[in-house]
Symmetry: C2
């Protein structure tokens, strides 16, 4: 696998993040009738920054499938709402009990637990409201909603969070790690790619290739996240590191060691590239992204 | 307002509850890939009983608008999933901190806080998955999803919960009580009625009448709930009573006293009947229901 310039990817992600941030701000302005404190808490987490990886995947996969960015934008915003909801709830004292996220106090530290729970709930609901209200074509709206609900629900991200918690009571196992990563992280990253392709009305074989890329990218992303928790800098990450081991989390470094973890992350990234390469030279950005996610520092 | 036999309404509600319970069970069997513990927690709250008032309203309003019950059934299940999600999260220690619900330990008492939070999240997501997957017509699926998201989100039920919590720090005020009741309770009851009418492809004026009925019924329902908290029996209610006053909740009894509260509940029920009566003799069941909600003991 050729390691390309990460600067180009970072620049693309930044450009994308600017567009997403403006669109999120505009969408939140339409949440009239929302209690000001709730809107503040929703904004606090939604505007905390981050790479906006998932909405970038929606828009880039839509572009790869020759779709218009404006058609894919609602799905890009919706997936970021779901991602942010999941961060708020995961950070709660009863779940991962994190005080710091993206370099700032977590939602419950800033606003108290009640408002944090409800801000998460509101963002999850907003995701489906965006797909129902802001997508012009009804059949597309329904397909996007189906994909996002399936990726988020009891067999997706939320189910993965349960498996993650229950995994803390089990001996480290590479198979279990893969299962948890697939549901908790890779499913929503896969959905981001598929949402973009659906918004571009991609043919079934293209949708399948894009979905396979998304799954493998998600696996590479989470494997590298496990490594960053062990080896990364808390200052660069903006959150506590070396927490997974203490919490008894199922991670690759605990299950198979650091070196083998790095090998697994690289293999997943390479297989993601393999999945998307058949789509031609326009897939180059997504190929580079697969290299980037396992080399990043945060 | 003529007080009709409550036995007939109770029998209809029971018949409806049986149908809803079977359909919920069948739908949950399709939640494959869900961790067993999560599915158990989802079932525990969803199958705890209750009157199934909201799905009854979906089906009865659909029938009133000459719709087929099977077309309205997905919306009936979805609204019960949202209602159950809201009960689980409202009961959490950080919010209302309730130990008992429908005569059984609340979700977090039974399964711990983490699983309770995630079971609520999963039920909220399932509601939108049901509307996306189980409604045959795409445009209808989208309209139902729009209505449910708007009723549930930051300007609906979830926003109302925030207002409810914040109201605890304010002096009792009838205006504030009405505002909280409208968002926290009446909006989802209104949505239940509107979902049934949408599923039956009701004309705009009928949809408006049914929606107005739902709002007023919801206001009557919550006003009578406030009264039951003061005067009702915990044994019949299956939850702690006389809690609202201690918690400093914004309720009608605290704001205007018991007698005036009863008058307000009756006036709301009467105005609900006024809203639905123009739809003819078929609306009789819904008229009777409006009387029932302010006379019930649980």
């Amino acid at each position: 696998m050729q390691i390309t310039s990460h600067d180009a990817i970072k620049a693309e992600l930044r450009r994308n993040a600017d567009a997403i941030n403006s669109a999120l701000d505009a969408r939140l302005r339409r949440c009239t009738g929302t209690p000001p404190s709730l809107l503040t808490a929703m904004r606090y987490s939604l505007e905390a920054g981050g790479k906006r990886l998932r909405p970038a995947l929606v828009l880039w996969c839509a572009a790869l499938c020759k779709g218009k960015p404006e058609t894919a934008l609602p799905a890009a915003l919706a997936v970021e709402c779901v991602h942010t909801f999941s961060l708020i709830h995961d950070d709660l004292p009863a779940i991962d009990n994190d005080d710091l996220r993206r370099g700032r106090p977590t939602s419950h530290k800033q606003f108290g637990e009640a408002l944090a729970i409800l801000a998460g709930d509101a963002l999850l609901t907003l995701a489906f409201e965006i797909l129902a209200c802001d997508v012009a074509d009804a059949e597309m709206s329904r397909e996007l909603s189906k994909e996002l609900a399936s990726a988020t629900g009891s067999a997706g991200l939320i189910g993965g969070e349960v498996a993650d918690i229950e995994g803390e009571r089990m001996p480290p196992s590479a198979g279990l790690v893969a299962e948890i990563h697939a549901a908790k992280t890779a499913r929503l990253i896969q959905a981001s790619c598929r949402l973009g392709a659906i918004a571009a009305r991609a043919k079934p074989d293209v949708l399948a290739a894009v979905g396979e890329y998304g799954h493998r990218l998600g696996m590479a992303f989470q494997a590298s996240d496990d490594l960053l928790d062990v080896l990364g800098s808390g200052a660069i990450m903006g959150k506590a590191v070396q927490k997974d081991g203490t919490a008894g989390k199922q991670t690759y470094p605990r299950a198979v060691g650091v070196e083998e973890s790095r090998r697994l992350a690289e293999a997943a990234a390479r297989s993601a590239v393999d999945a998307i390469r058949p789509l031609g030279p326009e897939a180059r950005l997504l190929e580079d992204l697969a290299c980037f996610v396992i080399e990043r520092e945060a």
